[in-house]
């Protein structure tokens, strides 16, 4: 690792930029100094731009021999002190579950971009939304952000690194072909307006040091390899000292802590935005690029005096339960909009089903919803 060059790190200004490149610029602005990836469409522009940008800011770029190499190189670099990222697409994301599981258990901050695609084709989809949550083995909580535009790909990349550093957990940026391969306006703010969080270092004294004893927020401080703390990282159940223990109490308390460090901070992690919710009778709930046609449909309906609103989910995991529940309490009907066979709709049903009717408009043919399709769905349930 070399000296950071902040001037080339943040490209302040207004750009017309590709979504995949916006992720790179967001990551760099957040302090990313390690990237490893394996070629896969439609995520290649991320690797290609990283291979150019990393040396410019004193970071390291690696093209691994496969996705497993990439995700484990990312966790290794993070343990050595890097802010590390990888990017892949659905099929490659499958392979990475092994590394994500390890990063959860050993509490290694890292960021993974999954530009979702359809079964080998680069068609539009949101089919991985459940794999994001449940793909890795073992019990865990996940932080998954769902950007809906090129600007949000930039903004959420910064947030993803901040969340990873704060909670010592992998954070997933759930991108989609739709926005990743789109060019759009992007505003990169001045460097002093970008909020960056770095992992907490432990006290210098190594006497009686317990590497996995959490601070009050549930997260232990984290030194880098070579800082002299002699930490054993293992996927096996380990106590606060890091010693592997075959003890149900140790097992349970470890999992309680690594799940609750996220559950207890849901409010800070869940990003949502409401559009025309105040008097809405029908509320659409959407995430990712589907928010775009959903909002178009809402605007169209409003222009004809229909009381329709949109709850946009920027965070899909953990689920913004309170916001979904409030929407279900207020509306007479919820319409879940999704680009798959209807996966997240089940979550919305679970949370809001007791308060109002949960309808869904799903599309699973490699294409994003049109405004017209969503308007028809609104008409159908009205």
């Amino acid at each position: 690792m070399k000296e950071n060059n902040n001037n080339s790190r943040v490209r302040t200004g207004t750009h017309f930029m590709l979504g995949n490149h916006a992720v790179v610029e967001g990551a760099l602005a957040a302090g990313c100094d390690f990237f490893a990836g394996y070629p896969i469409t439609p995520a290649n522009e991320i690797s290609e731009m990283m291979s150019q940008r990393m040396p410019e800011v004193g970071g390291a770029f690696l093209q691994g021999e496969d996705e497993l190499c990439s995700i484990f190189a990312v966790t290794g670099a993070s343990l050595a002190g890097a802010k590390a990222m990888t990017a892949t697409a659905s099929a490659g994301y499958n392979y990475m579950q092994e590394g994500i599981e390890y990063a959860i258990s050993a509490e290694i901050p890292c960021v993974i971009v999954d530009v979702q695609r359809c079964r080998g084709e680069n068609f539009a989809t949101q089919a991985d939304v459940m794999q994001m949550r449940w793909g890795a083995a073992g019990d865990h909580e996940m932080i998954v952000l769902a950007p809906s535009s090129v600007q949000e790909l930039f903004d959420y990349s910064i947030l993803a690194f901040n969340f990873a550093e704060i909670y010592r957990n992998p954070v997933i940026i759930m991108s989609e072909t739709t926005i990743a391969l789109m060019r759009e306006k992007l505003v990169i703010p001045p460097i002093d307006e970008i909020k960056i969080v770095n992992r907490r270092k432990p006290p210098e004294s190594k006497d009686n040091y317990l590497p996995f004893k959490a601070d009050p927020d549930g997260v232990p401080a984290m030194p880098a390899f070579g800082d002299g703390y002699h930490i054993l990282y293992s996927i096996n159940p380990h106590d606060e000292a890091g010693s592997i223990q075959w003890d149900p109490d140790v097992f349970e308390s470890m999992y309680d802590r690594i799940t609750n460090k996220i559950n207890n901070h849901r409010k800070s992690i869940t990003l949502t935005q409401g559009y025309y919710l105040e008097d809405a009778d029908i509320i659409l709930i959407a995430y990712g690029s589907e928010c775009r046609p959903a909002l178009d449909a809402v605007l169209d309906a409003r222009s004809r005096d229909k009381k329709v609103g949109l709850l946009k989910l920027g965070t899909v995991w953990p689920v913004p339960e309170e916001e979904i529940r409030n929407a279900a309490k207020q509306a007479s009907k919820i319409l879940a909009v999704e680009m798959n066979i209807g996966k997240y709709s089940n979550e919305i049903e679970r949370i809001g089903g007791g308060y109002c009717e949960i309808c869904r408009v799903t599309k699973n043919r490699g294409l994003i919803h049109t405004k017209k399709e969503i308007l028809s769905a609104i008409e159908e349930i009205r």
Binding site: A36, G64, L232
Partner: protein, 273 residues
């Protein structure tokens, strides 16, 4: 009477002891060889990252008083690659079984060797998947019986040293648990080597390989079997290809220098500094 602590214990993580190896296990010997090598060169444990994957040998880092990584099968080299690219000053030592190195991690092995990643990789080859109950491995010799080859092994094994040499490793040596001094010397040379250094140690597994493949669970007989099937590099030059089948050739195979892997910073340094 004053008792003095054995000086090599400074390299042991005391709260991880006692170790979990079966009595007579070769991996425990290799732990001992490493401790002695570390002591002889006064290895800085603050700067050491010891990595193990999954398996009996992979457990060795758990007992070392340094930063350590453990618990994913076959991904030791990708971890090492990330660590070394971010902080090349760290001293990374990998402890890997033959399954970790040549089966599930085989792809990573050839690529790390090709890149000349600067790590020390100690491969303890007991010719079987020991932790899971003695299944056949890519290193198991032809015809031998294991938990999953009850009629004999029909597959041709990998020669791990040859594989690493061909792929581009810059230091490659093989010894056996019958030769402690040679093992310690090879480990010391690997630790001093600038580049990808692999030391393979043929090792006995009395519990599974011994009982199933050579009809003896007695550790000494396992070591004798290894000794009976070992020849030195010099002796091997006098033997035909047929006579060398099923033999473990011991000694140093490769010891050369070429640029170590630095990722893109290799060009960055040239272009920008």
């Amino acid at each position: 009477m004053m008792t003095e602590k054995n000086p090599i214990r400074r390299y042991l993580r005391e709260n991880s002891l006692p170790h979990f190896f079966c009595s007579g296990c070769g991996s425990a010997q290799v732990l001992n060889f490493f401790l002695q090598a570390a002591d002889e060169i006064d290895l800085d444990s603050d700067n050491l990252v010891a990595i193990g994957g999954v398996g009996c040998t992979a457990r060795i880092p758990v007992y070392l008083n340094s930063d350590a990584l453990h618990g994913i099968h076959g991904r030791t080299l990708p971890w090492a690659t990330g660590i070394k690219l971010h902080n090349p000053d760290l001293n990374v030592v990998i402890f890997s079984g033959d399954g970790d190195a040549a089966s599930i991690g085989g792809n990573h092995l050839i690529h790390a060797a090709r890149r000349n990643l600067e790590v020390t990789m100690i491969v303890v080859n007991n010719l079987t998947f020991a932790m899971t109950g003695g299944q056949v491995a890519p290193s198991t010799l032809v015809d031998l019986k294991t938990s999953t080859t009850p009629y004999g092994n029909p597959e041709n094994p990998f020669d791990i040293c040859q594989l690493a040499s061909t792929a581009g490793a810059t230091y490659v040596s093989r010894s056996t648990t019958q030769h402690p001094r040679q093992c310690i010397n090879f480990i010391k040379k690997a630790l001093h080597h600038k580049g990808f250094a692999l030391v393979e140690i043929i090792s006995q597994c009395p519990t599974y390989f011994g009982r199933k493949a050579i009809n003896s669970g007695i550790p000494e007989e396992g070591i004798e079997w290894i000794e009976d099937n070992s020849v030195t590099v010099r002796e091997s030059t006098k033997l035909s290809e047929e006579e060398l089948k099923g033999k473990f050739v011991t000694g140093n195979f490769v010891n050369i220098n070429r640029p170590v892997f630095q990722g893109s910073s290799y060009y960055f340094d040239k272009e920008f500094e």
